[in-house]
């Protein structure tokens, strides 16, 4: 999809793929035939640049044809470079400029509480994104309003555009920070499906807002992308994409890995 577009963000999409897959294919109560069903759970992609993983999950869920994915970022395609709530079915909010999704989620959670709606909101953010001050305004507000219908998932892949998060601007310790803001906090291996599913389900029943700090590998599953900041916002070329897809499909291509990974 990103190769066809010629641009986009594979690294952070892959680190979050296990989380998004767990949500759309197991955890979320949703109805692709009725995207606005009031009783649904909501998934909010705050780190909007990882639209590819969201679009893939929405397409595979049946919100729109899978073929649309090859028109990502193309003029006249509903799949914008960053998610647009009015263009793509199933996209709950427009996002892209970082740090806003958690605050929007709070507003949605308050509206759902006023209307006695049963749904739960799962908001996916990045660790680099957590450098935005607004994230902490929101962290304060969510616990102030005791929003037990809200789960924030931090895709902590340790990388951002300019390098390692710890070198650029250290955001750790994230679990302690969210705990200090009054959140129930869980730290997990975000690429371990069992742990991801368990944490997401457990977060539904916390007394207030829940934060899942998911330790992940940026570019997960593609040898030459893993832990490489260079793949934050770069599209793989056709041959690279072929290899990446083969690796993700579980086929080890040791020769290519040595060649490209060097």
């Amino acid at each position: 999809m990103v190769t066809a577009a010629g641009s986009g963000h594979p690294g952070g999409s892959l680190s979050a793929t296990d989380i998004v897959a767990a949500l759309y294919f197991q955890v979320l109560k949703h109805n692709p035939a009725d995207p606005k069903w009031p009783g649904r759970d909501r998934f909010i992609l705050s780190k909007g640049h990882c639209a590819p993983v969201l679009y893939a999950a929405l397409a595979r869920s049946g919100y729109f044809p899978v073929e649309d994915l090859l028109n990502l970022r193309k003029i006249d395609c509903h799949l914008q470079g960053h998610p647009d709530m009015h263009k793509t079915p199933g996209v709950e909010i427009s996002s892209g400029s970082l740090g806003q999704g958690l605050s929007v989620s709070i507003g949605m959670a308050l509206a759902m509480r006023l209307d006695n709606l049963p749904g739960h909101i799962f908001t996916l953010m990045g660790d680099g994104e957590s450098q935005e001050g607004e994230v902490w305004e929101a962290a304060m507000a969510a616990s102030h309003y005791k929003l037990n219908n809200l789960t924030a998932i931090i895709d902590a892949n340790g990388l951002q555009i300019d390098g390692f998060t710890n070198d650029i601007m250290n955001v750790e310790p994230l679990p302690e920070k969210f705990a200090a803001f009054g959140w129930s906090t869980l730290a997990i291996d975000g690429n371990n499906m069992e742990q991801v599913l368990d944490a997401l389900e457990r977060s539904r029943t916390s007394a207030g807002p829940a934060a899942i700090i998911a330790r992940t590998v940026k570019g997960k599953g593609v040898s030459f992308m893993e832990n490489n900041a260079g793949w934050h916002g770069k599209a793989p070329k056709a041959a690279e994409a072929e290899q990446a897809l083969a690796e993700l499909a579980g086929e080890e291509i040791q020769e290519s890995r040595e060649k490209v990974g060097s």
Partner: protein, 315 residues
């Protein structure tokens, strides 16, 4: 002018109209950022505590919470000072309110120089320009208490976002009763044939007074209260310009980006005439009594009169 009514602040009208909206519509919610006493959203907060959300001193979070409430089917009214609503939270308003065309009503008080003693940090002279630049955003600057009340009540039914600017000081009543609505936002309060004065906010009353003084100098000024700066009623503006052939714009805002620009854009495309812009001349404000500031920054009746006379003379 409804001279017998004691002047009242437009922000007071916001507070009272919001209270009425709260009583009429259960889906109206309100937000503030620790200024509910000043913006007057506190009246709603006291009456409907379950539907009021104080974000604390966190305007970015407040604007995005308002967006989330709108996505959830509510009609949010978010208030703080104009300088914070538009400057501090610009990106939040842009991405999460204007781009998705959400029905958030940003009702900012303390627009312009008449914030007074707090000085330039709190005097918003760019807010109309900032909001006017955003696609989908309606920009409303009512002129008195009653028009503000009408604009707030009417805003409940708007499909998209709105920025409404109110002020801190008491201003004279121009409308004896609360009008049905604010219509197309271009209200010709006095017809004239020699010069058009387009004014908004506190400058409308001054424009009417200036027109009275100009009459004695044999200048028949038309006074237009422009309460909707965007989308501006281009037909009325161009109609007035073609009748009078010259115009003054008057606003408690920078001469860049606000009403002056909006009128000049219509003129440039539809009826090119000379326009004198009265506003804050690309500079920041300062501390002082509001009346002193209006004098120092040349936003008085006398400034309007002398600009009109100068324009008459130089032709």
């Amino acid at each position: 002018m409804a001279a017998e009514l004691k002047p009242r602040a437009t922000r007071d009208a916001y507070g009272e109209a919001l209270l009425e909206l709260g009583a009429r519509h259960p889906d109206v919610v309100a937000l503030d950022a620790d200024l509910s006493g000043s913006t007057k959203s506190g009246k709603f907060a006291a009456a409907y505590p379950q539907r009021f959300f104080n974000a604390g001193v966190a305007e970015a979070n407040m604007m995005n919470m308002a967006a989330g409430l709108a996505i959830g089917g509510k009609i949010p009214y978010a208030s703080t000072f104009a300088v914070f609503a538009t400057g501090r939270a610009f990106d939040q308003v842009r991405q999460s309110i204007a781009q998705p065309r959400l029905p958030v009503r940003i009702c900012a008080s303390h627009g312009g120089l008449t914030v007074g003693e707090d000085g330039c940090t709190h005097q918003s002279i760019e807010d109309i320009g900032l909001m006017r630049m955003l696609p989908n955003m309606r920009v409303v600057v009512p002129a008195d208490f009653n028009q503000t009340y009408a604009a707030v009540i009417e805003s409940y039914n708007l499909p998209g976002p709105m920025y409404l600017r109110t002020g801190r000081p008491s201003v004279p009543f121009l409308y004896e009763k609360v009008p049905e609505g604010i219509g197309n936002g271009c209200d010709i309060l006095k017809e004239g044939s020699d010069i058009s004065i387009f004014a908004c906010g506190i400058m409308v009353a001054k424009a009417l007074e200036a027109a009275r003084l100009l009459e004695k100098r044999d200048i028949d000024a038309e006074v237009v209260n422009v309460s909707i700066i965007k989308p501006i009623d281009a037909d009325t503006v161009a109609g007035s310009l073609s009748k009078t052939g010259r115009a003054i714009t008057a606003e408690e805002h920078s001469i860049i980006g606000g009403l002056g620009n909006a009128v000049a854009e219509v003129a440039a495309e539809q009826c090119p005439v000379r326009i004198g812009r009265l506003g804050i001349k690309d500079t920041f404000g300062k501390s002082g009594h509001p009346d002193q500031l209006l004098e120092e920054f040349h936003l008085t009746v006398a400034d309007l009169v002398s600009l009109a006379l100068d324009m008459q003379k130089s032709e």
